[in-house]
Amino acid sequence: MSKILIADDSKVMRQIVVRTLRQAGHAGHDVIEAENGRVCLDKAIAEAPDLILSDWNMPEMNGIDCLAALRASGNQTPFGFVTSEGSEDMRARAAEAGALFLIAKPFTAETFEEHLRGLL
């Protein structure tokens, strides 16, 4: 069983991500949640998840700043974005900062399956 940290300021979206993980064949993992990038950063360090799925646009600290802070601290936890913005510019920024992928909303279970294959 893996531990997955889901960061999104929307409780609705965190629940949809959990549901989609289940539909993509990843039921039964230990899921922890964060409502912004600051809490995500704290939990990433304190709880040592195996994977972080994070929104980009969040209050307090956004997802890209959270990822930058994590990597600057030497933390290499696999990190993927699940966000409403999927432009080439943002995909390039995500990759440059060390994200493994960027899943644009709306998404399907198949998209999750494709990106998470071999990670969990």
């Binding site: 929307s10 949809i16 969040m58 966000t83 913005e85 909303k105 709306p106």
Partner: protein
């Protein structure tokens, strides 16, 4: 000085994005159907619902504009139940605001991706009631639709340049 017309996404793109978001999270069982209205229609004639929720996000950058969603109270409650996979439990206003905000966030994020960048997307602002728009903004696209017989409106506004 003559102002240039405001620019923004084509209505067909707004419709395609909205339908994609809608069917992904709310299913295809009850489709979102386009509703034809006259541009001059306003008030309760243009949006026949007693209770309304509205939400907006703005894009700032190489393209600047705002994306607004307006829903009848019945649609807002139904979409919240579907998104949270809830049956008959009573809903908190906070849950409805969260669901409606996430809806406009997804539609707005996809509109942003279509427009020239770089640009930044704001967090959603949600209100119980119709949306109001600044007077320096012009409507560049408006999708009027019905879902389960209830009105849904997605509009895009941009400054006159």
């Amino acid at each position: 000085m003559t102002l240039s017309p405001a620019t923004g996404p084509a209505l067909a793109d707004v419709q395609a994005i909205t339908e994609q978001v809608w069917s992904s999270f709310l299913g295809d069982e009850e489709p979102l159907l386009q509703r034809f209205t006259e541009p001059s229609e306003s008030g309760s004639v243009a949006f026949p619902a007693e209770q309304v929720w509205s939400a907006a996000v703005s894009v700032h950058g190489d393209w600047t504009g705002s994306i607004t969603v307006e829903l009848s109270g019945a649609v807002a409650q139904s979409l919240t139940r579907l998104m949270l996979a809830l049956a008959d439990e009573p809903l908190e206003d906070a849950d409805i605001a969260d669901a409606v905000g996430e809806l406009v966030n997804m539609i707005g994020g996809n509109v942003k991706s279509l427009m020239p960048g770089p640009s930044a997307l704001t967090l959603p602002v949600v209100a119980a009631g119709r949306a109001a728009h600044a007077t320096d903004l012009a409507e560049v696209a408006r999708l009027d639709a019905v879902w389960n017989g209830e009105p849904v409106r997605v509009s895009v506004h941009a400054p006159r340049s």
